[in-house]
Amino acid sequence: MSNTDLEIVVDDPTAPEANSPAVTSNRVVDVVVSLLLLVLALALGFDNWRAGAAWDSTGPQPGYFPFYLCVILGGASLYGLVAAFLSRREAAETFVTRAQLRRVMAVFVPTLLFCLATQYLGLYVASFLLISSFMRLVGKIALWKSLLTAFVFTAAMFVTFDVAFDVIMPKGPLEAALGR
C-alpha cells in the first residue's frame, strides 16, 4: 500500500510562539464574565418584573417564567464570581497569550470590518474584499491567487444563492449599478 502514499506537510510560519507572555488569566476573565452575567440577570430581571412576574386570573403573567430564570442566572453567576475569586487554579491558567491574541485579532478585526462593509457595500462586494485581502495580508499568498480565489468563491456564492436558489442577500451600490 505504500506505493499510493503521498506525504502531506503543511507549515504554519505565523504560528503563535509558545513562550509568549500571558495577556490575562482565566480567573480575571471568569470574574469579568460573571459580573457581566450578573448585570444582565439584573437588567432582564427588572424588565420581567416590570412586565409582571406574579399571578393573575389567567395564570402566570408573561414575566413569571423568565423572572425566575433571572434569579437562577443571577445566583449562579454570583456563585461563579465568588468561586473565581477564590480559585487558585484558574489564576494560574492563561486565558490567552499575546501571540495568540494577535492571531485571533487578525481574524476578528477583518470579520468585524466585513460585517460593516456588508451593511454599506452589500454582501458580495464585502466577501470579495474580505477573502482577497485576508489571503494576501494575513496568509501572505500571492496576489493573483488571492484575487482569483476571492472572485471565484464570491461568484459561486452569487450564482448559488441569488440566481439558483433565490435567497436574497444584502446588496450595495455595485449591484445597483449592474442592475441586479
Binding site: V29, G52, P60, P62, V96, T111, F114, F153, M169
Partner: protein, 505 residues
C-alpha cells in the same frame, strides 16, 4: 412489523436520482467540513443549513443528516493520519489510530474506523427504527405537565451528569432559556426583554446564535493553535478492506459493547465524547493484553469509533420521538425542522410519516453510501488539508454571514452572529459548556409554554407535576439527577464506612 413496512415506504421515497444526488453532495460536504481544521459536525451543519432553506423538508433533512454522517466519517481521517482529532469524540481514536498509521498500517486503521463507525450507526439506527415509533405513540398521551417534566429531566440531567462545573452549566442553561424568551410572548402577546428595540422584537433566532457560537468562535479558537501538520495520506486497497472485514467477527464483543454504550449515552445527554472514552477504556479493561493498547492495536480504533457513532446517531432518537435533541448537532437539526414548519415531537410520526421514515431510511442509506465513499476517496480528502487556513477562514466567515442573514433577511442578525461568536469564544475558554445553551435556546419557548399551560390547568398548583404515576416519576427522576453528584458522594461515603468495618470483621 408495521415499522418495517413504513421503512420500506421510506426507502421508496428516497430512491430517486435527485435525493441520491443530494445525499452524495451532503456526504462530500460533510467529509469536507469534518477534515478541515476548526470545523466539525455541529459547525458544518449550522453553516450549511441555509443551503437547504429552499428545498422541500425531506430533501433538506436528507442532505443535512448526510452532512452530519460525512462530518463524523471525516473526523476519523485527520485523527488517524495526522494525530489531529477533528472533534473531541475523535480523541480516543488517535490513541491507537495514529500509532497504526506510523507503523504503515494507516489503511487498516482507516478501514477499521470507517467500518466500526458504520456498525455503530447501524445499531443505533436499528434502535431508532423500532423504538422511536413506540416512544412517540406512548408520548402522544402526554399532556403539558408530562412534557414539562421531560424537559425538566433533560435540563437536570445536563446539570447533574455533565462533567463541567455545575454552576457553569446552570449559567449556560438559564441564559439560553432567557434568550429564548426575548421578543413577543406567545401566550399574552406582550413584549418581553426587548428594551424598546425593534430588532429584538423578532426574538433571538436559534440558528443565528448557533452559527455564531459554533462557526465564528471555532475559527477564532483555531487561529490560536499552531496549524502545522505532517503525515501520510494512504490509499485504501480492496485487499486491505477485505482483510480487516475478515477479522471483524473476532471483535464482536468489543463492537457490541461499544454500540451499547454509545446508544445509551446518546439517548441520555451524555454525549459522544463520553461514549468514545468509555468504549475505549472498557475495551482496554476487558482485554487480555491491556498493555498493547495505545501502541497501535486495531481494537483501540474499533471501540471508540463504534461508541462515538452509535451515540451520535442515537442522539436523534429523543429528537424524533419527543422533540428533545440528545446532542448539539441534533439540536441544530431540530432548529432546521422548525424552519421548514415541522413541529418536532410525537405528532411528527402521525402527521408527517413520509418525512420521518424518509429520514430514517436515509440514515441507513447515508451510512452505506458514506462508507463506500470514504473508503474510496481518502487520499483526495486528506489533501484538502493542504489548502491554507488563510484561504479557508474567510470563506467560512462569509458562509456564516450568508447563513445568518438568510434566516430572516435581517442585517441585525449578522451583528448578532458576530456577538455570539465572541460569547462562544470566551465561554469555551473559561469552561462554560455550549451544549446546554444550545439545547435551552431551542427548547426554551416550548418548555415555558408547557409550564404555563400546566400551571393554568392546575390553577397554579405545583402538585400537578406529581399528579399521576408517570409525571411524578419523571419529575422525581429529574430532581434525583439534578442532585446526582451529591447523592453519589453520599452513597460513596456510606460505602466507605461499610467496607473497612467488613474488612476488620
Amino acid at each position: 412489523m408495521e415499522a418495517f413496512g413504513l421503512l420500506m415506504h421510506g426507502f421508496a421515497v428516497l430512491l430517486t436520482w435527485k435525493t441520491l444526488a443530494l445525499m452524495m453532495v451532503g456526504l462530500v460536504l460533510g467529509i469536507f467540513v469534518g477534515v478541515l481544521p476548526g470545523l466539525g459536525g455541529p459547525n458544518g451543519v449550522a453553516i450549511l443549513l441555509p443551503l437547504t432553506f429552499t428545498m422541500d423538508p425531506t430533501s433538506a433533512i436528507v442532505m443535512l443528516s448526510c452532512i452530519y454522517w460525512g462530518a463524523l466519517f471525516g473526523g476519523a481521517i485527520t485523527s488517524i493520519l495526522f494525530n489531529i482529532p477533528g472533534e473531541a469524540w475523535s480523541v480516543a481514536t488517535t490513541f491507537d489510530g495514529y500509532p497504526m498509521a506510523q507503523q504503515g498500517k494507516a489503511a487498516e486503521a482507516l478501514t477499521a474506523a470507517f467500518t466500526s463507525s458504520f456498525i455503530g450507526s447501524l445499531v443505533a439506527v436499528l434502535l431508532i427504527t423500532f423504538l422511536a415509533p413506540m416512544i412517540s405513540s406512548f408520548a402522544l398521551k402526554f399532556g403539558p405537565p408530562e412534557f414539562f417534566a421531560v424537559y425538566l429531566l433533560t435540563f437536570c440531567s445536563f446539570v447533574g451528569l455533565g462533567r463541567e462545573a455545575k454552576h457553569k452549566t446552570v449559567i449556560s442553561m438559564s441564559l439560553g432559556l432567557l434568550l429564548a424568551g426575548v421578543g413577543m410572548d406567545t401566550v399574552s402577546g406582550q413584549l418581553r426583554m426587548t428594551f424598546g428595540s425593534n430588532e429584538l422584537l423578532r426574538g433571538i433566532n436559534f440558528l443565528v446564535a448557533v452559527i455564531g457560537l459554533f462557526g465564528i468562535s471555532e475559527i477564532l479558537l483555531t487561529m490560536e493553535e499552531r496549524l502545522a501538520l505532517r503525515g501520510h495520506a494512504a490509499g485504501i486497497s480492496l485487499r486491505v478492506v477485505l482483510k480487516v472485514w475478515k477479522d471483524l467477527p473476532k471483535y464482536w464483543v468489543t463492537l457490541l459493547r461499544s454500540s451499547f454504550i454509545g446508544c445509551w449515552l446518546g439517548i441520555t445527554p451524555g454525549g459522544a465524547i463520553a461514549a468514545s472514552f468509555m468504549g475505549y477504556n472498557l475495551a482496554k479493561r476487558f482485554s487480555k493484553d491491556p498493555d498493547s493498547f495505545g501502541k497501535g492495536r486495531i481494537e483501540g480504533v474499533f471501540a471508540p469509533e463504534t461508541a462515538a457513532h452509535a451515540s451520535g446517531t442515537s442522539a436523534l432518537l429523543p429528537m424524533l420521538a419527543l422533540g428533545i435533541p440528545g446532542s448539539g448537532t441534533a439540536a441544530i437539526l431540530l432548529g432546521g425542522l422548525m424552519v421548514w414548519g415541522l413541529n418536532p415531537g410525537p405528532l411528527l410520526f402521525v402527521e408527517h410519516k413520509d418525512f420521518v421514515w424518509g429520514l430514517i431510511a436515509s440514515m441507513y442509506l447515508g451510512n452505506v453510501v458514506g462508507l463506500v465513499l470514504v473508503l474510496t476517496t481518502v487520499p483526495v480528502f486528506a489533501s484538502i488539508l493542504r489548502v491554507p487556513f488563510a484561504a479557508v477562514a474567510p470563506m467560512i466567515v462569509v458562509s456564516c454571514a450568508i447563513g445568518a442573514y438568510a434566516i430572516q433577511n435581517a442585517m441585525f442578525d449578522i451583528w448578532l452572529m458576530l456577538g455570539f461568536g465572541i460569547v462562544g469564544y470566551v465561554f469555551k475558554k473559561i469552561g462554560i459548556p455550549l451544549a446546554p445553551f444550545t439545547l435551552a435556546l431551542v427548547l426554551g419557548n416550548r418548555a415555558e409554554d408547557a409550564f404555563r399551560l400546566s400551571m393554568i390547568g392546575s390553577g397554579g398548583d405545583m402538585k400537578v407535576f406529581w399528579a399521576n404515576g408517570l409525571v411524578g416519576s419523571i419529575t422525581t427522576l429529574a430532581i434525583v439527577l439534578l442532585f446526582w453528584p451529591v447523592i453519589d458522594k453520599a452513597v460513596g461515603s456510606v460505602g466507605r464506612l461499610w467496607r473497612p468495618a467488613k474488612a476488620s470483621g
